[in-house]
Amino acid sequence: MNERVIATNITKSFRSTKALDDVSFSVNEGELFGFIGPDGAGKSTLFRILTTVMNADSGDALVDGFHLKDEIAIRSRVGYMPGKFSLYPDLSVQENLEFFAKVFGTTVQENYSIIKEIYVQLEPFKDRRAGKLSGGMKQKLALCCALIHKPRVLFLDEPTTGVDPVSRREFWEMLGRLKQSGLTILVSTPYMDEASRCDRVALIQKGKILDIDPPGVITKKFPLHVIAVKSDNMQKLRKDILKVEDAESVYGFGEFLHITMKKENSSTEKIESLLKQQGHQHIEVKIIEAGIEDCFMHLMEHNKN
């Protein structure tokens, strides 16, 4: 398979903090690859290094066939949308776009087909200053500016952070369509539920990659049973559930609690009868498939030591 990004042993420290600790992975051509992890996991640092905005302490990467030291070659081949809005607020929508096209030696007309679908939504506001756009519109403009030089690899750093669930969904649908054109996309996010939108994901925490695989494979690998439990009294359930023997962890998941247990120990009947004894009603106990968030928390706990 054709690898568009190959990172090997990338390490980066800021004073005493290790932002990236020996990070290696590769991303295939045309892949939508997600880095899933909380703030401070090292996602932004990684993207800055791969787009040559920042130097690694050690390690290297090939980005579209070029080593990190070939800054100029890489910069013309990648599109980068940073987490913070970084367009020119005093330039209009159209001026921003033309500026970015010009910097890369191209024109908006030449590559218009790439951004067309996104840009039509911005067109009614093309004379508005970028700083005066709504959050969603700013995001779309930033994406257009990152795409206008027809990059081979697109880096999107937390494009959906702080964005409501509906707008997030729309953004991912847009990424799905961009991917159709063959573009390789690396995207970072703190939202675990977005993993399912990616071909493969790297779960990342404290500068370390905890696991890399397609999201469906990661959840299949989960070594324990996840048991979802609810009752008429969730407050009391949170306390009573601690009496379940052999539970490895208990976490809230929306209207349910998730208990994890070794498969050989897990018994929904046992849990149900315990809760009945404690006076719970409308009890629901069921073994469910693990989600990415279950997996992430499990990996976090097992990487503590």
Binding site: P38, G136, V166, Q235, G252, G254
Partner: protein, 251 residues
């Protein structure tokens, strides 16, 4: 409107206009004492504007409101003294130590020196942060920061605490620990008014309101909302409300 005493927030026909734009369009609702109240909405739906009015920062264009027993139009100063507020991004000073942050906020909330000293010690031992006491905020782990930020927002023992996306970008374990803190606060009788983009968290609220285009389009317990909108999850409720046309017509 009379304050019944049962409701810690009472809002009636509240409006905020910016020029020709109506950011908050005639909203009415009540929040009960000790409730964990989820305040949801899409970006740009008017949540932030509504909150800024409720905490006495922006004055409404029209309507009526009582917060923590005080009139929003005439007693905003009193409201500010009786509420806590935690914004996600700038709630603690990174270059001050843990103890300095506590002292700073206690001062802002007008605690007297001897009370503040006592409260600060109480808070540090409650949180188990003795070893971080003289550590700069920027050097302590995120989970601790969140805990401290919430405690600091409540150092003056407010009746209500407003939390604006308190768990955004936080790892899944810390995020859940933060909700334990929210429950603790609620159990002690503090009303919690919280916004979030995590729909699983909306399930942890006693009641949830959803704003769409400046209006409150739904308000109920998560169970009732799911029934009302014939939805499996709060995520689906949100989707149906925030983009009704898309769900029904799939244009």
């Amino acid at each position: 409107m009379k304050l019944t005493g049962e409701n810690i927030i009472e809002v009636e026909n509240l409006v905020k206009r910016f020029g020709s734009f109506t950011a908050v369009d005639n909203i009415s609702f009540q929040v009960r004492k000790g409730e964990v109240f989820g305040f949801l909405g899409a970006n740009g739906a008017g949540k932030t504007t509504a909150i800024k009015m409720l905490i006495g920062l922006w004055s409404p264009t029209s309507g009526k409101a009582n917060v923590a027993g005080f009139n929003l139009f005439t007693e905003a100063e009193q409201i500010r003294k009786n509420i806590g507020y935690m914004a996600q991004r700038f709630s603690l000073y990174e270059d001050l130590t843990v103890i300095e942050n506590i002292q700073f906020y206690g001062g802002i909330y007008g605690l007297r020196k001897n009370i503040l000293k006592e409260r600060a010690e109480e808070l540090i031992s409650e949180l188990g942060m003795e070893s971080f006491r003289k550590e700069l905020i920027k050097n302590i782990p995120l989970g601790w920061k969140q805990k401290l930020a919430l405690s600091v927002a409540m150092i003056h023992k407010p009746k209500i605490v407003f939390l604006d996306e308190p768990t955004s970008g936080v790892d899944p374990i810390t995020r859940r620990q933060f909700w334990d803190l929210i429950y603790n606060a609620a159990e002690k009788g503090t009303t919690v008014f919280v916004t979030t983009h995590y729909m699983d968290e909306s399930e942890y609220c006693d009641r949830v309101s959803i704003m769409v285009d400046g209006r409150i389009e739904a308000l109920d317990t998560p169970v009732q909302l799911k029934k009302q909108f014939n939805a499996e999850s709060m995520d689906e409720v949100f989707l149906k409300l925030a983009r009704p046309t898309e769900v029904s017509s799939k244009q």
